[in-house]
């Protein structure tokens, strides 16, 4: 199994889209999309590929530590964890942005420490550090939008896709921290030893992105 190209796919809709791109590129393994199976790993030895689903935020860890040779991870995760990997291609899907949002009409007062709730403490510290702004980081694991509404924080740093959730909760994006999309990433050692297979996948996916 070790000679197959091991691919970590992010669970969820984005992962399914990514799989479709791989399948279109000639690396299909239809079982991957079978929701009834309890299998964790899906192999197509004929195509030399093996897929497994992992939590989107874990893809970079699987790839960095070599459990997966390649994977697809959001730029938000890469910015947050700074894994030592190769970021080979912007797949141009899952487009959104990492943004600062606050209650509508919020006025930032620089004389006060800004309380920021986020799932991305490293990116947030980096962003405000560059602006020399003193902040109080509040690390949350979900329902970030609730924080400013309940007065837990002044602002949030979170993923904004359409902004509808923010709007419905009387919040609005105020600044963009970074544009986000899905990236094809590779383990640096696997890139050396499975170069032919990785280059082939990269070439096929690049063609689809450029189309």
């Amino acid at each position: 199994m070790s000679e197959l190209l091991q691919v970590a796919l992010p669970k969820g809709r984005l992962g399914e889209k990514v799989y479709e791109m791989f399948a279109k590129a000639g690396f299909e393994c239809p079982e991957v999309l079978d929701k009834t199976t309890r299998k964790l790993i899906f192999e197509n030895s004929e195509k030399g590929i093996c897929y497994f689903w992992v939590k989107p935020s874990d893809v970079a860890i699987y790839v960095e530590r070599g459990a997966a040779d390649i994977g697809v991870a959001g730029k938000d995760i890469l910015l947050e964890y700074k894994p030592e990997i190769f970021e080979l291609l912007d797949l141009n899907i899952g487009r959104c942005r990492l943004a600062v949002a606050a209650k509508r009409g919020f006025r930032d007062r620089p004389e006060r420490t800004l309380r920021v709730a986020t799932k991305f403490p490293n990116v947030t510290l980096d962003y405000y550090g560059k602006k020399c702004r003193d902040i109080d980081i509040i690390k949350l694991n979900g329902s970030i939008e609730l924080a400013p509404i309940l007065g837990l924080s002044d602002v949030i740093v979170d993923i904004v896709e359409t902004g509808t959730t923010l709007l419905e909760n009387n919040l609005e994006p105020t600044e963009t921290v970074a544009p986000i999309s899905a990236r094809l990433v590779a383990n640096r050692s696997s890139f050396q030893f499975k170069n032919e297979a990785i280059t082939k996948v990269l070439g096929e996916l690049r063609r689809q992105v450029q189309e």
Binding site: E64, R65, G66, Y81, K82, E84, I85, F86, E87, L88, L89, D90, K130, N187, R188, S189, S190, F191, Q192, F193, N195
Partner: protein
């Protein structure tokens, strides 16, 4: 005394092998203290793999550090003697704080430094030793070589956030990131295109270098490409290792210059060897001489240990309280002299795995 090398762990075997290779090429062992004054590292933070250093105050109130690196200490004690080349190898534990998990780590590291009035032969010698080190670790290894002259011919020397970002993108083989960073830095479109082409400039030296040559007329880049081609030509006779060029290798440009290289072995997810020419560090530390060296990260090799021994011991020798100790000892000696691993116990240990069990006093013993 005869040593049974089969009992050695993978990294222990590697240390012994490497030591003998380095000694053969005239390198002498450098032994350093566990502690150094913090200033040495504080002034050269970017040179260190991790910028977090474990510090403490010594009895005289001086801020000390548990050594996170060996190269800086070797450089500190070298003297500027014209025409002289110092060759050192080391095998030391270094102490770092893991950037990811924020815990202290002790890492076993070996490596060598060639410092002084060095020329092309010395660079070639170090590169050869790096290749030989990798080949002695595994039969399936790759040494990637790059030349920093290629990127420094394009990237502005001013050290800004944007240049760091651009270098980071080259290191990640990240073409979209390179384009964005070049745009911010005002790099021309032809240079941007060249930098993007570096992300795929990987593989056999002949092919990659000739394809890069066709993409540029920049004199400095052409000189760097010639140098790398020339040096690779001088080590191409080494067998048991694949030598590639990979222009994504970016060691810190403020310290390194010229040739840089990284080594990988199959089965280890990260690089196991890293090195290059660091004349710029020498200048920063007030030395006139030049230097080249590399480190082998032995902690990574633990992963390669294919010790899949099924049993903890060959023979579990069971004895009872009534058995005489000298009889037990006699039996143990008899079995070990037959080359067997023996564990003598009064009852069967819960988690011990064994090939056979022998009870003292039972028939046949």
């Amino acid at each position: 005394m005869k040593i049974d090398t089969s009992i050695l762990k993978n990294e222990e075997k590697v240390i012994l092998n490497l030591r003998s290779i380095y000694k053969q090429y005239g390198y002498s062992c450098f032994k350093m203290s566990k502690f150094e004054e913090y200033d040495l590292y504080g002034q050269n933070k970017e040179f260190l793999v991790s910028d977090s250093v474990i510090t403490f105050t010594d009895t005289s109130g001086k801020l000390m550090a548990l050594k996170p690196d060996v190269t800086l200490s070797i450089v500190k004690q070298t003297k500027n003697v014209c025409g002289q080349v110092d060759r050192y190898y080391y095998n030391e534990n270094v102490y770092r704080i893991s950037e990811k998990t924020h815990v202290y780590k002790e890492i076993m590291q070996t490596g060598l430094e060639c410092i002084g009035d060095i020329g092309k032969y010395n660079i070639c010698e170090v590169l050869r030793l790096a290749a030989m080190s990798l080949a002695s670790i595994s039969g399936d290894s790759i040494l990637n070589i790059s030349h920093l002259g290629v990127v420094s011919a394009i990237i502005p020397e001013i050290n800004t956030q944007d240049t760091q970002l651009l270098l980071g993108c080259i290191e990640e083989k990240n073409p979209h990131g390179i384009k964005e960073a070049c745009e911010r830095l005002g790099v021309s479109s032809s240079d941007t295109e060249f930098l993007v082409s570096l992300t795929t400039a990987y593989g056999d030296a002949g092919e990659v270098i000739s394809s890069l040559r066709n993409r540029t007329t920049n004199e400095k880049i052409l000189v760097a490409l010639y140098e790398i081609e020339n040096i690779i030509g001088m080590i191409s006779d080494i067998s048991d290792i694949k030598i590639n060029v990979d222009f994504s290798i970016i060691n810190d440009i403020g310290y390194y210059n010229g040739l840089v290289f990284r080594g990988y072995v199959k089965g280890v997810p990260q690089r196991v060897l890293s090195g290059g020419q660091y004349d710029r560090l020498m200048t920063k530390m007030g030395k006139k001489s030049r230097a080249v060296g590399f480190a082998v990260y032995l902690d990574m090799l633990e992963r390669m240990d294919n010790d899949d021994t099924e049993y903890d011991t060959d023979v579990l020798l069971l004895y009872s309280a009534s058995d005489k100790p000298q009889d037990v000892m006699k039996m143990v000696n008899k079995l070990t002299s037959m080359g067997k691993k023996v564990t003598a116990e009064m009852r069967i240990p819960e988690k011990l795995t064994y090939r056979e069990i022998i009870e003292i006093g039972k028939e046949g013993n």
